[in-house]
């Protein structure tokens, strides 16, 4: 993992959640408080600590390595601006991921339709076919499969599977109802079913009339 590159006592690597305890989170919020007072040394420490997981998250959402540093710059500049007025609520890393989520989606929006189409075509050209599953690295297959999703869906998948967040935490981060989070993840998994056999199995969905209900509930996809 990327954590080896991080510095400072609260280094996150590429995953800030998981087993991190309340003490680490309190240390992160203290850093943010110091950043709010204009402490650039605290900003340096926070930046180095968050860079790994922000890079990964932004890459996952935008799929454009060349966008990552610019978005991270926007995220940390926003952190610098908001640090003084932010009251600790959720985990510090969740707060920063929420900013990153907005900034990454804005970056995708700035790409313009032609760039997004180009990206989609390039991914098709890579020749993804379901039957080569298990033949090469499952991690790169998962990465390619996620390319079939919208940036919003990729973001939420990353938050669930990589950051290990509860749907309640994701709802806070995305500022949306919990049902929207569940529905968005459900739709994403259904969308991936053809690329990753077994996700939301066909048999289960077909025989269960409740599944139709799932499709029509929740506000987001």
């Amino acid at each position: 993992v990327i954590s080896k590159e991080s510095a400072g006592s609260s280094a996150h690597g590429d995953r800030p959640g998981g087993a991190r305890g309340a003490a680490e989170d309190a240390a992160d919020w203290e850093l943010i408080r110091l950043v709010g007072t204009g402490d650039t040394a605290a900003l340096d420490q926070l930046y180095r600590s968050c860079h790994g997981f922000l890079y990964r998250f932004v890459y996952r959402v935008t799929r454009r390595p060349e966008c990552c540093e610019e978005v991270i710059n926007d995220v940390m500049f926003t952190v610098w601006q908001k640090a003084a007025s932010t009251v600790p609520g959720a985990r510090a890393s969740t707060w920063i991921l929420g900013i990153a989520h907005n900034m990454a989606l804005k970056a995708v929006g700035r790409m313009g339709r032609s760039a997004r189409l180009e990206l989609a075509l390039a991914e098709l050209d890579e020749g993804f076919t379901p039957d080569i599953i298990h033949a090469v690295s499952t991690a790169s297959l998962a990465d390619k499969a996620l390319a079939a999703l919208s940036p919003e869906q990729r973001a939420v998948m990353e938050l669930v599977y990589h950051h290990g967040l509860h749907y309640q935490e994701i709802a806070v981060l995305l500022e949306c109802p919990e049902s929207t989070v569940k529905t968005r993840v459900f739709h994403a998994r259904r969308h991936l079913r053809a690329l990753w056999p077994g996700l939301v199995g066909d048999g289960v969905v077909a025989k269960d009339s409740e599944a139709q209900e799932i499709e029509s509930t929740g506000s987001g996809t």
Binding site: E5, G38, P65, F77, L146, Y167, T183, R189, L192, E213
Partner: protein
């Protein structure tokens, strides 16, 4: 954390979730976040449903694959230097909008984009500036830059000084191309263009992190750049 009582009978035994709710919650069962009654109800369903157990296995494999390392992040240091330069520029511009070419107050939030837009506007206004004879003299831009960097606004004293460069682009170069070049090298227009078409541009990074010679070499490798020279004598290569 969870609604512990939901879905349980008066006797306290959990009620099977059924397929649809199991399918909706499976990702959080796999990532270890489900607890209490939700977890019990889901496990009860799994114990009696072969199809969902099969899905669970696929879900676990997918979760592992998604969570695996995907991209090696570069060193954070270059980005950190750019952030400092941006903060310094944002702090400097606000109290000292002395640069008379700017068409109005710049929002700290949108500084970089505002700077690019301003560059485009300044280009469009160049004939007007020339006609009126008050175009800035690029020769004094270095002094102005130092004024900006030594502003006493909060944060400035701690932020490292960045590079100031005089930059002349090829004649007729599109404003968008100029913006692209500046973005690529982390530059922010501080002044210009003057009568000679020269800009004063502030580049990210301190001399310790990236020598002026490297900044200049990078700029000179751009086909659209005619001239790039250091404005602060002590930083000349």
């Amino acid at each position: 954390m969870m609604d512990a009582g939901v879905g349980q009978t008066v006797s306290g035994l959990p009620i099977d979730f059924g397929h649809s709710e199991t399918q909706r919650l499976l990702p959080w069962y796999v990532n270890g976040q489900l607890a209490g009654a939700e977890r019990e109800r889901l496990q009860l369903h799994l114990s009696s449903c072969d199809a969902c157990r099969s899905d669970l296995a696929a879900e676990q494999e997918f979760a592992r694959a998604v969570a695996a390392p995907i991209a090696q992040a570069p060193s954070p240091e270059a980005g950190l230097a750019r952030l400092h330069a941006r903060i310094a520029a944002a702090s400097a511009v606000k109290p000292a909008p002395k640069v008379h070419s700017w068409p109005g107050q710049i929002d700290r939030n949108e500084l970089r984009w505002a700077a690019m837009a301003a560059g485009v506007l300044v280009l469009a206004c160049t004939p007007l500036l020339l006609r009126d004879g008050y175009g800035p003299d690029p020769a004094i831009a270095g002094a102005e830059y130092r004024t900006l960097a030594s502003s006493d606004d909060s944060g400035d004293a701690r932020t490292p000084a960045a590079h100031a460069v005089r930059l002349v682009f090829s004649a007729g170069l599109a404003a968008s191309t100029i913006s692209d070049i500046l973005t690529r090298h982390g530059g922010t227009v501080v002044e210009g263009p003057g009568a000679a078409g020269a800009y004063t541009v502030h580049f990210d990074g301190t001399p310790a992190e990236k020598p002026m010679s490297a900044v200049l070499a990078g700029l000179r490798s751009e086909p659209g750049v005619r001239l790039a020279e250091a404005l602060q004598p002590e930083q000349k290569p």
